[in-house]
């Protein structure tokens, strides 16, 4: 099964070796350098932006005391609920020429349409800002965890050696947390590379939009796959960096004693600066766009919320729920197989499945459709030849293809949480139940499932939400006339009906808050008494 799930990845990778055709030559001479440059600039900008905001806020909320600290420590995760494409058109709607901000400015100053400078949201810089605003929580999350894990002693030793809090931060805490920070930034960059909605809406030429254009515009699957393969090289570099830094992070644990961290009480202006520094990303990344969406939704819900919208919601929920259920069942199967058989093959296949999460939806879609289309053509050709009957496209335009892509992309999440849940159940539990005359199947039912209920539920929820938010793979693989909330919001926004798309967008954000709240709950319980 793992082999089946890694098929798309290998398909795409194999296109790296394919001979190039005319379209590819054309692409290479015209747009490839643009894609490379744009992607590189975007990664640079997002990298720096998430680094500064994420690490800064993490340090403030983990070792300083200032008004609102407890609230910020979990609320700073909330922008994670926003898919990039939704925040992108919310901001566009607010700040473009016809939007409320510029109109208000013109009214106030009496400027004419072209008489003043206003930054263009739909630009590379705008995209970098959008990504930074919704992706900094990754860096925040991991670096905060790293700061909290550092032993007090190291920080205190640095102070006895003459470091102030701030130089202690630069010279001790930051280097110790570096592996975690690198891991967080690489996660943010992976998401940046995987994005399709934002860059396509902003009209930027990067790999994901390039793949779409080549496929649907030029109709050349091979060239699209080749682009996907290059993107994959970028992604795998990031995956390797991320894994490597996480492994190093284990050696950076300085002590097992996690007594409470020193708390630096900030006063006066400093305290208010800290407050503002934490409020700003939260405000820009969540409160402002969510507020705008809510205002739009209030204006338009009467026309937008009709029977077809409810059908759409139902569709999305059913799709996401069945994908999540399937992911959990497969994950149980894999993780349980690993526990019972513990063979190298099972362990290795789980590792292959785990890389799926890093692969952009566009690439997964291309990688899924190529082998499925081949299969369809083979079946069709065979049937025509022998039975004079055309089966048409059996799999590639079906929900099966979509489900398959979701599994490739999201199974890693469910496997991870199910495995960690199962890992907490000691082997002696199994042995005890067997010595009390239970068969292995009964043990799964009577012992493991009750103990794992929470983890299984978490896995289900996270996959559910990810599928709700997923855009590019759904866009490519959905059956004809099959829509989800994400696709609908994207299409409406693409038609400049920003206000109309807000109900769907708000729904997605609301659903997206669920895993964020779960995460933040585990954060607030991870350090009792702080």
């Amino acid at each position: 099964m793992a082999a089946l799930l890694s098929l798309p990845i290998f398909t795409i990778a194999s296109f790296l070796l394919y001979p190039s055709n005319e379209v590819w030559q054309h692409l290479r001479t015209t747009v490839l350098s643009e894609y490379l440059l744009n992607s590189a600039l975007m990664m640079l900008g997002v990298g720096v932006g998430t680094l500064v905001i994420g690490v800064g806020c993490a340090w403030l909320t983990s070792v300083c005391v200032f008004p609102g600290k407890r609230f910020f420590s979990w609320a700073l995760l909330m922008p994670l609920a926003f898919p990039g494409y939704i925040i992108a058109y919310t901001y566009t709607g607010m700040f473009d020429f016809a939007g409320p901000v510029q109109s208000w400015l013109r009214e106030l100053t009496g400027w004419g349409p072209r008489e003043y400078y206003f930054p263009e949201i739909r630009s590379l810089g705008g995209a970098v800002t959008m990504f930074t605003l919704v992706l900094y929580p990754y860096v925040y999350l991991l670096s905060r965890a790293a700061f909290l894990e550092q032993s007090v002693c190291v920080l205190e030793v640095s102070r006895t050696l003459g470091c102030s809090i701030w130089s202690g931060f630069y010279r001790v805490a930051l280097p110790l947390a570096r592996p975690a920070i690198v891991a967080g930034v690489s996660l943010a960059l992976m998401e940046t590379l995987a994005d399709y909605g934002t860059v396509s809406y902003f009209g930027l030429g990067v790999f994901t939009t390039g793949i779409f254009r080549t496929w649907f515009g030029l109709g050349d699957a091979a060239a699209a796959a080749k682009l996907a393969a290059i993107l994959l090289v970028f992604v795998f570099t990031l995956v390797i960096i991320e894994r490597w830094s996480r492994r190093r992070a284990q050696y950076h644990h300085t002590s097992n004693r996690y007594s409470s961290l020193p708390q630096y009480r900030l006063r006066g202006a400093r305290a208010w600066f800290a407050f503002a520094a934490c409020l700003l990303p939260l405000f820009l990344g969540f409160i402002l766009p969510a507020g705008q969406l809510a205002v739009w939704a209030l204006q338009t819900y009467q026309t937008m919320v009709d029977a077809s919208f409810l059908w759409l919601t139902l569709h999305s929920i059913l799709l996401a729920a069945s994908a999540a259920a399937l992911a959990v069942v497969l994950a149980l199967f894999l993780a349980y197989g690993k526990r019972v058989f513990a063979s190298k093959a099972v362990t290795a296949s789980i590792r292959v499945v785990a890389t799926g999460y890093a692969i952009p939806g566009t690439v997964v879609a291309v990688g899924v459709i190529i082998p499925l289309a081949w299969f369809d053509n083979q079946v069709d050709g065979y049937l025509r030849e022998h039975f004079e009957f055309s089966s048409g496209l059996l799999l590639s335009g079906s929900l099966f293809a979509l489900m398959f892509a979701y599994m490739v992309r999201f199974l890693a999440i469910s496997v991870q949480s199910v495995e960690s849940g199962l890992g907490k159940i000691r082997q002696s539990m199994d042995d005890a139940a067997r010595s009390l005359s239970y068969t292995p199947a009964q043990i799964l039912l009577r012992v493991h499932l009750p103990l794992m209920r929470a983890t299984v539920l978490t896995a289900f929820l996270i996959v559910f939400v990810d599928v709700m938010k997923e855009l590019p793979a759904t866009l490519i693989l959905r059956p004809f006339n099959f829509n989800t909330l994400a696709v609908r919001a994207f299409e409406l926004a693409g038609d400049e009906r920003l206000a109309d798309s807000s109900t769907a967008a708000l729904m997605i954000v609301a659903v997206g808050l669920v895993p964020v709240l779960l995460l933040s709950r585990s954060i607030s319980t991870s350090r009792a008494g702080s």
């Binding site: 000691r426 002696s428 539990m429 042995d431 068969t439 009750p450 103990l451």
Partner: protein, 348 residues
């Protein structure tokens, strides 16, 4: 003769590594056996083979005169009618105490289950905690629940895997005696695995000392201490030193501390050089004695002193003296031999 548990020539291991080598022993109904040995000696593998969690390579295991493991055949654990108490107790955290104990009774009728659960909880003194969850209990209480859970289905054999190793040292022997009383009350046959000889002495009727996958000696605690079959057992059980001696006659040897007589015939010709095991209680502190030695080190143990002594020849011995005989280091004290059991080993 009927035996409740019989292990015959058991070989077992993991992958290519052989862990057990020709392990054999048996227990009569109601007997408590113990596998005692240093860590890594294979004692836990014996227990897990009896339970059916490991498959033996060669040899047979019989429970209640029924073959449960022969080469190529292994009855799965759930069909062996065994009970097991684990090192970490392995209580199910999502079930109450009462539900934990009832867990193994799923084949009984509801009313019988209830009766048996009450009976078991009463035996281990945990009736008051029937509705508690495992995490609300202390280590000793969890242990009693684990014992009640394992005994509730009336297993043919109860297996205990280092059941006291998570306990305070002070509590271990007391708990071991408690568990022994409970087992004896229900006339259970049991096998205990431990590396702690005091636990073994407190609980077991029969002790198998194991080393490097083989049984070194099987016997009562008294036998193992006073009649060790080889140097390993002599060294592992209790304290003592080995000093050189010459065989004088069929029943006596001569050491520099004097003559030692034995009730049994010595398995060596007169004039042969042998080694003799001297326990601390074989040497009595006696100010009148002509023999003397110098105190090198001493350990106060409450009721008595353990002295480390060096004799004029340089040979060191141990001596147990009553606690009011407090001598300084480097002081010369008189000692006398008082050996009840002569233990000799041939020299190689």
């Amino acid at each position: 003769m009927t035996s409740q548990l019989q292990v015959d020539g058991l070989d077992a291991g993991y992958d290519d590594l052989q862990v057990l080598n020709q392990v054999s022993f048996s227990l009569k109904p109601g007997e408590i056996g113990c596998m005692l040995g240093p860590s890594g000696c294979g004692k836990t593998t014996v227990l897990r083979s009896i339970a059916g969690f490991e498959n033996a390579w060669r040899g047979r295991i019989l429970i209640d005169d029924i073959e449960v493991s022969t080469p190529g055949f292994s009855l799965p654990p759930e069909r062996r009618n065994i009970g097991m108490v684990f090192q970490d107790f392995a209580l199910f955290p999502h079930l109450r105490v009462e539900e934990n104990v009832r867990f193994g009774l799923h084949r009984l009728e509801r009313r019988e289950q209830q009766g048996r659960v009450q009976e078991m909880l009463a035996i281990v003194g945990m009736l008051a905690y029937a509705q508690a969850y495992p995490h609300q209990l202390s280590g000793g209480q969890q242990q009693r629940v684990a014992l009640a859970r394992a005994l509730a289905p009336r297993p043919s054999i109860l297996l205990l895997d280092e059941p006291f190793s998570n306990m305070d040292v002070d509590l271990r022997e007391q708990l071991a005696r408690e568990v022994r009383n409970i087992l004896k009350q229900e006339n259970n046959t049991a096998v205990l695995v431990t590396h702690d000889q005091n636990e073994a002495f407190a609980m077991a009727d029969q002790i198998c000392v194991m080393n490097e996958g083989s049984v070194m000696q099987q016997g009562s605690g008294y036998d193992l201490y006073h009649r060790p079959a080889n140097r390993f057992v002599a060294d592992f059980i209790g304290q003592g030193v080995i000093i050189p001696a010459t065989v004088e006659s069929l029943t006596s040897v001569k050491t520099e501390l004097g003559m030692i007589r034995s009730d049994d015939v010595i398995d060596a010709a007169p004039g042969t050089l042998v080694d003799v095991l001297i326990r601390p209680d074989d040497i009595v502190h006696d100010d009148e004695s002509p023999e003397s030695a110098i105190v090198v080190e001493k350990a106060f143990r409450g009721a008595d002193f353990l002295y480390f002594l060096r004799m004029d020849s340089g040979v060191e011995v141990l001596c147990l003296a009553p606690s009011h005989h407090d001598h300084k280091i480097n002081e010369r004290i008189g000692i006398r031999l008082n050996v009840d059991h002569l233990v000799t080993f041939s020299r190689n």
